[in-house]
Subunit: 145 residues, 2 copies
Amino acid sequence: MSQRPSAVRGVRDHGRDGRTTRADPRLGVDALVPPVPADQAGRELLARFYRALGDPTRLALLAFCAEGERTGTECVAHAGLSQGRVSAHLSCLVDCGLLEVRRVGRFAYYQVTDPRVCELVALGTSVVADHAASIAACTRVAPDR
Amino acid sequence: MSQRPSAVRGVRDHGRDGRTTRADPRLGVDALVPPVPADQAGRELLARFYRALGDPTRLALLAFCAEGERTGTECVAHAGLSQGRVSAHLSCLVDCGLLEVRRVGRFAYYQVTDPRVCELVALGTSVVADHAASIAACTRVAPDR
DNA sequence: CAGAGATATCTGCTTATGCGGATGATACCT
DNA sequence: AGGTATCATCCGCATAAGCAGATATCTCTG
């Protein structure tokens, strides 16, 4: 079946079969393991949350609504898409906890209020800045057709 | 065209037309605006990055490779999917800066090394914990067909 | 109450993305 | 060299998810 990679081949030895582990002192204790849910359902939820951030239109709306409260109509004008589509995007962002909505009469005021959302975006932006070229080249999982 | 929402209607007045803004003292200065790129191309990159996190299989692989270096074959066994698919997932994660790969002979050792990745996952998990029900209900943007 | 504006939802279409399985390219072992 | 294991890429297929446009609701104004 699957072979064990044969140990240490001239590369610096740092573990039983030449591999680093979290116990490896080179990595330090603060390089924590990400708290990804162990159950499939939890991972599906987390994945769905990240997918909500995985659309350029929603990111633009998020930035727009971070500057202050915005009505749906203002968001439509800003996004330049159909009213129905923008409404759906906004609902999605609210459902995922990325945006809050305050309803007054026939108006809906959207705004980013959770500071974690800003941190999340800041971290993402930071990583992207370091890998822009390869991310641009990554045609995701499916080949570029 | 679009009406201006008429100002202040009994609700607490906190702005020109009853809306909060980032200048609103209630929000404080540390409630920063998320640094979403102003250009469409930059947002597309950032969105693509988040989409890489938006798949339960990739999240599972990320967690698996955070515990220490893992070979491709080990990842295949852990994910329980076809070898080709897992390989593509891993390449995607590497391209997006979420995973690093070290190649030795015919083996590829994958591992999470960037602490920002862990922070990113921790933040996401935290927000998801507060909105689990509505995220589960959010059939994304497309209606549930 | 009738008309207009603001939102949300539904329909049908198109593209993106996940999947298995085949194929190909290397590296390792005997 | 020949056989096998590891990993990457390609193919065709099925579903997810984005989009515009049409309605459907509800609210406000006159």
